[in-house]
């Protein structure tokens, strides 16, 4: 009998809630780079484990950084 594949997803705690970061700065590209893929796309919440509010803050920060050419819109990796 094959076992039914029950995966218990590990509940991640949002890194920003834990650290109590009040403001995510769009100039901090080192931080924001952790939340984009090598293609330059914003990582999904299920990957990053952020809460709704902080995922949104990250997304707007990344978009601001892209406007100022601090982060790429696309990067042709591969």
């Amino acid at each position: 009998m094959a076992k039914p594949p029950i995966r218990k997803p590990k509940k991640k705690i949002c890194a920003f809630c834990k650290e109590k970061t009040p403001y995510i700065d769009y100039k901090d590209t080192g931080l924001l780079r952790k939340f984009i893929s090598d293609r330059g796309k914003i990582r999904a919440r299920r990957v990053t484990g952020n809460c709704t509010q902080h995922q949104r803050d990250i997304a707007t920060a990344v978009k601001n950084a892209r406007e100022m050419a601090l982060l790429p819109y696309t990067s042709a990796a591969r």
Binding site: D25, Y26, K27, R66, M68, L70, L71, P72, Y73, S75
Partner: protein, 96 residues
């Protein structure tokens, strides 16, 4: 009076030592209008993630200032009129 943060990307063809006086000239508008410039941070030359106006580099500067909304929009307008300015962004850091 509100706290604003203005980021400016200048043309890389502008000489490095010509940057501080150029920024001062732009910010004179704020001072004349009763605003206060707190900090001018010149990051210097930095590679752009993608080309802007066929330029692959830019001189980044970040300015912290207190001013009225009208004053900041005037500053932004004047910056965008200038040929040496590639891009600007005005942000209110305490908003959020």
């Amino acid at each position: 009076m509100r706290h604003y943060e203005v980021m400016v990307i200048l043309d890389p063809d502008v000489e490095e030592r010509a940057v501080p006086p150029a920024m001062e000239r732009f910010l004179q508008v704020v001072r004349d209008g009763g605003g206060a410039v707190e900090k001018v941070d010149i990051w210097g030359r930095r590679r752009l993630s993608y080309d802007i106006k066929k330029k692959s580099e830019g001189i980044y500067t970040v300015v912290d200032l207190h001013a009225t909304p009208a004053l900041v929009s005037e500053l932004d307008r004047q910056l965008n009129l200038n040929e040496a300015v590639l891009r600007t962004k005005v942000i209110r850091p305490d908003q959020r």
